[in-house]
Assembly symmetry: C2
Homo-oligomer: 235 residues x 2
């Protein structure tokens, strides 16, 4: 399948590498291809330069947001939350129309340092902002509540733990569920469809505790599990 | 030990009953004792009237917020989030000074129906509002991320699952940890001290996903577990 991934950071690379390994055709989209390829230093998260990563993944293609969107039957938003809407505008409505966007970005605000707050939350979400701006795009929010390593290797965290899905289009959510299970290895019992796109507020609002736990445990390989007891007896 | 509990709803009753069972002296505080006792109908959550509950728990005392505060060596805020600051004002600063407040309230806004949003979040929290209004109170936010049944019966939800603690006073957090473990039965490995009172933002922001999961599963006996994998290898 042809896949377009917006972004070139850790999340984009983890998913891109997995999709390539499975034999799919992946185009990464970036704002300025030359700038991205010219970077010679690791980024603030310790990721090696994309040009270096690309040498180990020679079948990965790097292009503009527009070409990544045009290439992809399935699209992935792995940009930073602050850059997501601009990236999608650059991709062009005509290249997004009718497609599924797996939205993994979080609206993190690092302007006041660590821990970040959210730029939007509570009564709105980044996923809803994207869905409103691109009504013909089928936005499915998922995977945004964990580290890139865990996204593509759920078995890396022992036991059961959860991945959430939010979106308005049932068929798009079915396709994304198949990708989570069949391609990434998530047990179907751990995939929780929370409901429509407004439920993305709830998963984006998990980020504040995620970053606190990361700061506390010094370990990004953590995930949320919803433990369930017996329901109350009704009289 | 003498304990003062602000509130008379499901959370107040679950904790009060547990404390009474352990031989502690409990005074529940309410805005208007006569009004609370005069209620003859179950509340919106299906809880029987307090007067009826009190018949099954004859050693439970009901009084004003002021007398509950004055009675308690340890205090519990089990009021609704929208009524918490008013309840504490009514209790009186002089009756709160130096005491530990176990703050379980959440700033839920039901004015637009279900699911509720939060009245405060992201860059502030109810726990911080309380701590700022009563600087001599030792606020410890905990237990606010689960149903009352689970708070006092962690074994009701199978397996490991977490209870979070936030607060500025290490000794107060130690005392609350002892209560969670020794009185309520939480495994110490499942008690996570997130840090100072600002970390209460993160746990109050778990409520949006809690209410969505409750709506989805029709089961309030759920809890969050933090699943932890191996940390990344450092080069």
């Amino acid at each position: 399948m042809n896949i377009g991934i917006f972004g070139t950071g850790a999340v984009a690379r983890a998913l891109g590498a997995k999709f390539l390994e499975l034999g799919h055709s992946v185009v990464f989209g970036t704002r300025d291809v030359q700038t991205t390829l010219a970077r010679a230093e690791s980024d603030g998260y310790g990721n090696i330069p994309f040009s270096q990563w690309k040498k180990v993944h020679p079948s990965a293609k790097l292009s503009t947001f527009k070409e990544a969107a045009s290439h992809g039957e399935i699209l992935v938003n792995a940009t930073s939350g602050s850059g997501s809407l601009a990236a999608l505008q650059a991709a062009g409505k005509e290249n997004l129309k009718g497609k599924i966007l797996i939205d993994i970005a979080n609206p993190l605000d690092f302007s006041k340092g660590f821990p970040p707050s959210l730029t939007v939350c509570n009564t709105d979400s980044l996923a809803e902002q994207i869905q409103r701006a691109f009504p013909d795009l089928r936005v499915v929010k998922t995977l945004n509540t964990m580290n890139a390593t865990v996204m593509v290797n759920p078995g890396f965290v022992p036991g059961d733990h959860s991945v959430f899905i939010s979106g308005n289009d049932p068929q798009a959510k079915k396709t994304v569920t198949d990708i989570l299970h069949g391609w990434l290895g998530w047990r179907t019992s751990n995939i929780i469809d929370l409901g429509d796109i407004t439920t993305a507020r709830a998963t984006e609002m998990l980020l504040p505790i995620w970053v606190r736990l990361f700061g506390l445990l010094k370990n990004p390989n953590i995930n949320f599990h919803i433990a369930i007891g017996a329901p109350p007896r009704r009289p």
